[in-house]
Point group: C2
Chain length 148, copies 2
């Protein structure tokens, strides 16, 4: 079986496994939290991503955004209202991560002992997974930080 | 909303987000690759996990296994055939990660340009997601390293 090397944070791996492939692209805590903010919370600007709630450092955010753009998951474009600012959005490849994010939230909903942790979103995913996925596809925010 | 701090690799976070909760537990490339080997490939011993194909270092494997046991995702027990050896298995909480792993593989199946990357497993997930999930629940390996 042919193998092509892939890179993670400077290290080269040599694996044909689709799990390893995916983790090469987003298998980093901060990367998936950036995807979450773009996907669920309607974050668009650098400042909104910096304010995601877990205290990402600005250099880490810049580094991960660059990697996400290189991987074709995020696209950055000048903000029409302020050309010196960039706005970010998920590409179709990025939106295709929605089922992964949804299943992560569902797992946490079962196993996170903090009963109130984003209960609204967890409940909605339980009752209406298809609706949540459709909203994500339509680029509608499904969760508001810090309210639910 | 009450918040309880959680830990990632020594850092304390303060987030009620279920995505952040999950990433605190398995949001590390190696951790999810260990889960993959236990879940999909029928790995049980330390040696089999060390041989997962991506060249995990033995100290990293030991560290991540300890964290997975502490998080209640993996349970280690003495091997009945050799009491000096341990065998590892996913707990129910660990098996509940199956939909996350399946959706990661499905995403890679669409976006990984290496056409032959674990084609058998990717195809089976596409055609029979429920069957794959049932096999995982029944602790049947669904992928063999390095054959498919």
């Amino acid at each position: 079986m042919a193998r092509s090397p892939s890179k993670t944070h400077g290290k080269t791996h040599d694996s044909t496994c689709p799990v390893a492939f995916a983790l090469d692209v987003f298998g980093d805590r901060w990367t998936l939290l950036i995807v979450r903010d773009l996907m669920l919370r309607g974050a668009r600007s650098y400042g909104e991503l910096l304010d995601g709630g877990e205290g990402i450092a600005t250099n880490v955010l810049a580094d991960r955004l660059k990697a996400l753009e290189a991987a074709g998951i995020v696209v950055g474009a000048p903000d029409p209202e302020n050309r010196r600012r960039k706005i970010y959005a998920l590409t179709d490849k990025g939106l295709d991560l929605a089922p992964v994010v949804i299943e992560i939230i569902r797992w946490s909903g079962v196993h996170d002992a903090r009963a109130d942790a984003r209960k609204g979103l967890v409940d909605r995913i339980r009752k209406d997974t298809k609706g949540v996925l459709a909203d994500i596809r339509a680029r509608k925010p499904v969760s508001r930080w810090p309210d639910d």
